[in-house]
């Protein structure tokens, strides 16, 4: 088998695949953050905890109620979104007029409480979640072996991300969302129930996080801290892409996953820090982010 720059292609493509998978999670999570920030003006630090809740909802559903993966894929995001909506209605709602910082502190505190409770109940060690039967095994693509479940993660998140992008950029509901982000007061004057729009938007952003959690359950351990580890990286991705851009958050997420994967091949020592290095460079040359608008 020929080698590229002294790297066997299986290794190269294998790492790129892992990079794409991580990138899919970055994209799903930063997309949710971007949508929430756009309309609510809140940096949702509970996002990692909500991702974790998605994975746990799937695991608990299977463990105690025999809910299979496919049902969990829909049910877990719905349940976690309902929990998110409850938080929005009772707590977040009070902070919209305040500085970003208040929302950040509140959601950060909520994340600590949620994660702390789950550590208390389930311990820090992860719980395994089996790959659903129909997605076991894999394909030999010639240049590499593709586990079916990993392929499924990439396809599913791409479909959800670009479906969301289409909904926001091309539909009437999306026009409400964009206009509400720009000038909520005028939207109210036109007869749009903006508080309801805000609640549903938060619910949708949270559902995206929970969906990522369910997708992640079979490949990572289901553990109370799975979200907080990931969220730090996702925030770096958001900074790189620029807050508030829908397409930007999707593309940056995928790109950063790939860069991380390639770094693992060519300079493994830097693979866990490369995203932060990119972030620093971007902050120096383009503070508003790759896709952000200069203020």
């Amino acid at each position: 088998m020929t080698e590229l720059l002294g790297i066997p292609p299986q290794v190269l493509f294998g790492q790129m695949l892992i990079g794409l998978i991580n990138g899919s999670f970055y994209a799903l999570l930063s997309l949710g953050l971007a949508i929430i920030f756009g309309l609510l003006n809140i940096i949702n630090f509970s996002h990692g905890a909500q991702y974790m809740l998605g994975a746990f909802a799937a695991w608990l559903g299977l463990q105690y109620f025999g809910v299979n993966y496919w049902v969990a894929l829909v049910l877990a995001p719905v349940c976690v979104a309902a929990f998110g909506i409850l938080l929005e209605r009772t707590l977040l709602r009070r902070l919209y007029r305040e500085d970003h910082l208040y929302g950040l502190l509140l959601t950060f505190g909520l994340a600590l409480i949620i994660e702390g409770s789950f550590v208390h109940w389930f311990g820090v060690s992860g719980q395994p979640y089996a790959v659903p039967e129909s997605l076991q095994g894999g394909q030999n693509l010639g240049f590499m072996f593709l586990p079916t479940y990993r392929g499924w993660i990439i396809v599913a998140s791409l479909v959800v991300c670009f479906g969301t992008w289409y909904m926001i950029e091309r539909t009437r509901l999306g026009a409400y969302l964009r206009a509400g982000t720009e000038n909520p007061q005028l939207m109210q004057a036109f007869g749009i129930n903006v508080p309801l729009l805000i609640t549903l938007t938060y619910g949708y952003g949270v559902a995206l996080a929970a969906l990522a959690g369910v997708l992640a359950a079979p490949i990572y351990q289901v553990s109370p801290v799975m979200g907080s580890n990931l969220l730090i990286t996702v925030f770096a991705v958001v900074v790189i892409g620029g807050m508030g851009s829908i397409l930007g958050s999707i593309l940056t997420g995928l790109l950063m996953g790939l860069i991380e994967g390639l770094t693992k091949v060519f300079y493994p020592e830097a693979s866990s820090t490369v995203i932060f290095l990119v972030m620093i460079i971007i902050l120096l040359v383009r503070p508003a982010g790759l896709f952000g608008k200069e203020a």
């Binding site: 409400y176 964009r178 005028l186 036109f190 007869g191 749009i192």
Partner: protein, 240 residues
């Protein structure tokens, strides 16, 4: 619409309306009555409270007391997003064209609030420029085109009470003339219009009545036919 019919129906009535932004008390007991099919202006200097009056009608101020009757219904406790549903179309002073929406999306944005609104075709007939630029980003339009767009989008909704804030501000004379023609057409259709204006020459031939505002109060009500006799009062308050 006959004059008897007009006199019969109160489309809008403000009684002892006070409005506040936080601690600032802006409107000090406004009384205004607008019958169906009338075009009434709010005239006054900058800062006299005309915009605040429209915003108070829309429930877009911090706090308000008194009474706002729209279509015979008390609306002081109606949430902001339900005011439009009573048939009110609001065109704000800053126009409020959305940058993230193209012209047609801007046009289609406000939901229909009553039947009988203009169709997209009728609107493009009235404003051919908007048709040509329908795929442009809303804020790429010229000031005049943005103003046409801000007017056009509330005509689509079927609103029969229009609140228009300084629609001629900063626009070229040909465009002001065009807006005058549009207002005449809308009046002929029987729409009720409250027009906030600086440009007295524009408002005078269109309006049935004028309210003069100063320091958040109504200081004078002038019928169209009394205008000539009361020019000196107008001069005092407007400096025209």
């Amino acid at each position: 619409m006959t004059s008897a019919n007009r006199a019969d129906y109160e489309q809008l009535r403000l009684a002892d309306l006070h409005a506040f932004y936080g601690e600032s008390h802006i409107l000090h007991g406004i009384d205004i009555k607008v019958n169906r099919g009338e075009l009434v202006t709010l005239l006054g200097r900058n800062g006299s409270g005309r915009t605040t009056t429209l915003r108070a009608i829309m429930n877009m101020v911090g706090k308000r007391t008194g009474s706002v009757m729209i279509n015979g219904r008390e609306t002081l406790d109606v949430p902001a997003h339900q005011i439009a549903r009573l048939g009110v179309g609001y065109c704000p002073e800053e126009r409020g064209i959305f940058a993230s929406l193209n012209v047609e999306e801007n046009l289609m944005l406000p939901p229909t609030v009553r039947s009988g609104g203009m169709s997209l075709d009728e609107i493009y007939d009235m404003f051919p420029n908007l048709y040509e630029r329908r795929t442009s980003q809303g804020t790429r339009l010229s000031g005049g085109e943005q103003q046409m767009l801000a007017m056009a989008r509330i005509l689509r909704t079927g609103a029969n009470l229009l609140l228009l804030d300084e629609i001629t501000e900063g626009l070229a004379p040909v465009i002001v003339q065009k807006l005058g023609e549009v207002l005449t057409q809308l009046k002929n259709k029987g729409l009720t219009i409250v027009l906030v204006e600086q440009n007295f020459r524009f408002a005078a031939p269109l309006a049935d009545r004028h309210y003069l505002m100063e320091h958040g109060t109504i200081v004078e009500e002038i019928q169209a036919h009394e205008l000539q006799d009361k020019m000196d009062i107008l001069n005092t308050y407007l400096g025209v």
